[in-house]
């Protein structure tokens, strides 16, 4: 299994009564009232330090994504972070998850920047290509909802051609028309860096992954139990398309909190989980569900599942301000948390339940400070990673990992596990 330490790069000091005073953490939380550039200066430095620390601790990948006007994460240009990480790390995959393709105009901007990171890092780039959330694409960047997917498919086509075809060539798309596509440089990895899709339950994304042999990652904050029907849906589409059941085809985002004991984990992290679920995920429904963003097919699928959470992973949850650790960890299984032994068991469950080879670890959440983040990161590296990172590796080959990445050494303080 591959473990990518992933930074959402969010705001760590939203006011105590944030969710009562403001309708949404995303799109329209007033910047002048809530987003202090002096604090952001501090966070951005912490964010990069935490990613570097994760690299030192031996995680397989480091990564970030793209969001806009969003208190839970505002990595507005993930390629800037990726460029830094390409230089500051040596072995890790640089997992950019990813560039929201409909927002790049023309989309060769994305093709160029990702190729830069791939070259600078020696072929360690994972190129994530999400469609983008309705909040980012429709509300923050003003893309017509019914054009999001057509723009996405066309941008993907252009980028892939730019990476793989002999240039220069012309591209006559509906949204982008170019006489001279001639990328300087092309990516180092051939034929191109691994492409990861990121989804929230749209059936079209499963089809697209199966058609193109791409990795599908389900970006959820709701844990393995809620994800099960969705990942089953992905695997069903994958099987029907005649693809093998290689678990490295799939990724899953998971919140993980490690303490010395179960009790210590609860004591250290519960307040931050509450902050995250009550404030960071406080997204107004009119922003999360935009007419035209989901196809009628996906809407009907969601209704059939009677699981709005599957389509909108950002739905805030009533009463979550006082949610218990037991509910988060044991009942809903949203969070993986506890002593190293507890966490090892839950990671093994996750791998088996969802059949995923890639875990996108969410270990800095909302209000967590720098020191606690490092503590969580170190404990997991020392006491969990050695016990779980060989899962699947002896049975399946990971074709979705960058060719230039190497499995990093764990810290000397890590548990020794017999080969």
């Amino acid at each position: 299994m591959k473990f990518t330490w992933f930074h959402m790069q969010g705001y760590r000091d939203l006011p105590q009564d944030f969710e009562k005073r403001f309708e949404s953490v995303w799109v329209n939380p007033p910047t002048d009232e809530l987003c202090d550039p002096k604090k952001v200066a501090q966070y951005l430095n912490w964010n990069l330090d935490e990613l570097d620390y994760a690299a030192q601790m031996g995680y397989d990948g480091v990564g970030t994504n793209e969001h806009h006007q969003n208190g839970y994460g505002f990595p507005t240009s993930p390629n800037q972070t990726g460029y830094y990480l390409a230089k500051s790390t040596k072995d890790q995959a640089i997992v950019i998850l990813g560039n929201t393709l409909p927002l790049y105009n023309p989309p060769i901007r994305s093709a160029e920047e990702l190729a830069f990171i791939d070259c600078l890092s020696g072929g360690r780039l994972v190129a994530g290509m999400p469609v983008g959330s309705p909040m980012d694409v429709a509300h923050c960047y003003g893309i017509t909802p019914t054009q999001v997917r057509p723009r996405y498919y066309e941008a993907h086509d252009l980028i892939k051609q730019a990476w793989t075809r002999e240039g220069p060539f012309h591209f006559n798309g509906k949204y982008t028309k170019l006489r001279h596509v001639n990328l300087w440089p092309k990516p180092l990895q051939k034929p191109h860096p691994p492409i990861w899709l990121a989804g929230g339950g749209s059936v079209e994304t499963w089809d697209f992954a199966a058609q193109n042999d791409y990795l599908y990652s389900y970006l959820s904050f709701n844990g393995r139990a809620a994800a099960k029907p969705l990942m089953d849906g992905f695997w069903e589409v994958n099987d029907k398309a005649g693809r093998d059941s290689n678990p490295f085809r799939a990724g899953f985002a998971q919140i993980v909190f490690v303490g010395e004991t179960d009790a210590e984990a609860e004591k250290l992290y519960l307040q931050h989980a509450r902050y995250f679920y009550s404030k960071s995920l406080h997204v107004a429904k009119q922003f999360a569900m935009v007419p035209g963003y989901s196809t009628a097919k996906s809407m009907k699928h969601a209704i059939k599942r009677a699981d709005a959470g599957g389509v909108n992973p950002f739905a805030s949850i009533t009463g979550i301000q006082n949610v218990s650790w037991k509910h988060l960890v044991d009942e809903s299984k949203k969070v993986i948390g506890g002593s190293p032994a507890t966490v090892i068991d839950q990671i093994k469950d996750l791998a088996a339940d969802l059949r995923v080879g890639h875990v996108i670890l969410l270990m800095q959440l909302g209000s967590m400070d720098h020191e606690l983040t490092k503590y969580n990161t170190r404990l997991f590296a020392e006491k969990v990673l050695p016990h779980v990172r060989d899962i699947w590796e002896d049975q399946w080959q990971d074709h979705w990992w960058p060719k230039g990445a190497r499995r990093p050494k764990l810290p000397a303080s890590a548990d020794r596990v017999a080969a």
Partner: protein, 260 residues
Amino acid sequence: MKAERIELTLKSGLKADVLKKGEGAPLVFLHGRLGRHWDAYLDELAKTHCVYAPLHPGSQDADELLLLDAVSDLVLYYDDVLRALNIEQPVMVGHCFGGMVAAEYAAYFPDRVRKLVLVGALGLWRDDVPVADIDSMNPDLIPATLVNDPRAAGVAQLFAMPADPAFIGDLMVARVSMTAAVNHFIWPIPDRDLRRRLYRVTAPTLLVWGRDDRFVPLVYATEFSTSLGNAKVGVVDNAGHFPHMEQTRETAAQTLAFLH
């Protein structure tokens, strides 16, 4: 008598779905963002006119939108529909987004429109009095923004849910698809430079507005009137964005007085 339903495949390959009722001079009614509802207002108009009410394309089959990129495509679509039905020189009545399309049609084809009636029409923009951002509004607040009394008999059908829960899903998908197909042409701000084309409209125009329109405020009636020249404004009291459904008798009377 119920309206007759006409289904057509146009030369473009796009489909048309048109409700028709009445005898007399042709009148085309273009509906707004909440969809097509054959209501008492259309019944009133159908007493003296042959009323055609086409359904906005792409609202049932979203793939149709791939062939309709801009308002100009939509204008040509409706011209295809009118020609296929041999409708010449109709009165064009448009509500909300349909008003924007009717005005565009009258600007593109000024010789083909006898008279123009715009009811709470979208299409213009003033920074100091913006058209309300319905799409960013808590859905629970939308009905009371659009009409004065969401439970009034004339408008209840716009917001009602079916009694049988088995049909709620289908209705939700249909409503969302309609909004999506309308927003396709106007997201995120309903201004596609109609103002600079309005000088081309030659049809005498009536602007019917609910005095309490909180979606497209009354000031937009004046905006249209100023740009059009040959236009007059009719204000309907005790009505919001749906005067033809909230105050049917008054709105129909003003419309018919203008048409006769």
